[in-house]
Homo-oligomer: 153 residues x 2
């Protein structure tokens, strides 16, 4: 028997906080030894930074917290399939396990398109688990973009 | 007739400065309207940040300078083929033209492996030019890693 703690609700909370800031609702947390050591939601608009995705910010914060450029033994939980940039960062950081909720056929880089982990140029391949809370994560995104289309410009 | 200014020497200067700091010698500059608006070398060790590649730092600095998450009309000059993470960031930032000096069969994400720009999940494809000052950029990397192997641990 083994214990399994689901940290996707923590990532979803970050996604909801991002939506409340007017950002695309994606959230992420980094977990080590059963505890969240970093959490982030998208801040690309607020920071004027196209790399300020939830995963990228959470990875950088976790590395800062650990004083290391490697997240050996860490898991990243994120509400949406990482894009190619974030997948590259996940490989570079040596994240041990990646859990993502919803697939992203339009922009994903893990299970579609470039499939960043499936080439030797990614020097590390995390274990990848998908689908946990997929419906909730996808609904958050759908509602956000539906609201955008109705909002006055 | 059209004018062409070669900014690779600026990127190479950043690469040499990175080597002097003990970082893998890769450098990058962002150019807009014929002027360098951001420059950076690798700082992954100094910053304990696996995403602190020259391109990523230069893109973030250029976006901050312009107050925009898009680098429309900008060119990125970098001494080495971008990795998948940096290629993803280049696409996300809408960099117009990418110039890189040396190919990177081991870790590149543009012309090898994931070929990030060759899939619809990259929502922008820059013009890509390669080979300018390739020998000098590759020599810097060779010398750096040769020195590392000889250095006492």
């Amino acid at each position: 028997m083994s214990q399994f703690t689901d940290f996707m609700p923590d990532a979803l909370a970050e996604a909801r906080a991002a939506a409340a800031r007017g950002e695309v609702p994606v959230g992420a947390v980094v977990v080590k030894d059963g505890a969240v050591i970093a959490r982030a939601g998208n801040r690309t608009r607020e920071m004027n930074d196209p790399t300020a995705h939830a995963e990228m910010l959470a990875i950088r914060a976790a590395c800062a917290a650990l004083g290391s450029e490697r997240l050996t033994g860490c898991a990243l939980w994120v509400t949406l399939e990482p894009c190619p940039a974030c997948a590259g960062a996940i490989a570079a950081a040596r994240v041990e396990r990646l859990y993502y909720a919803a697939p992203d056929p339009k922009s994903g880089g893990v299970a579609q398109g470039p499939r960043v982990f499936d080439h030797s140029q990614a020097h590390h391949r995390p274990e990848v688990y998908t689908g946990l809370h997929e419906g909730e994560a996808a609904a958050l995104l759908r509602e956000f973009f539906a609201g955008k289309r109705q909002a006055p410009r």
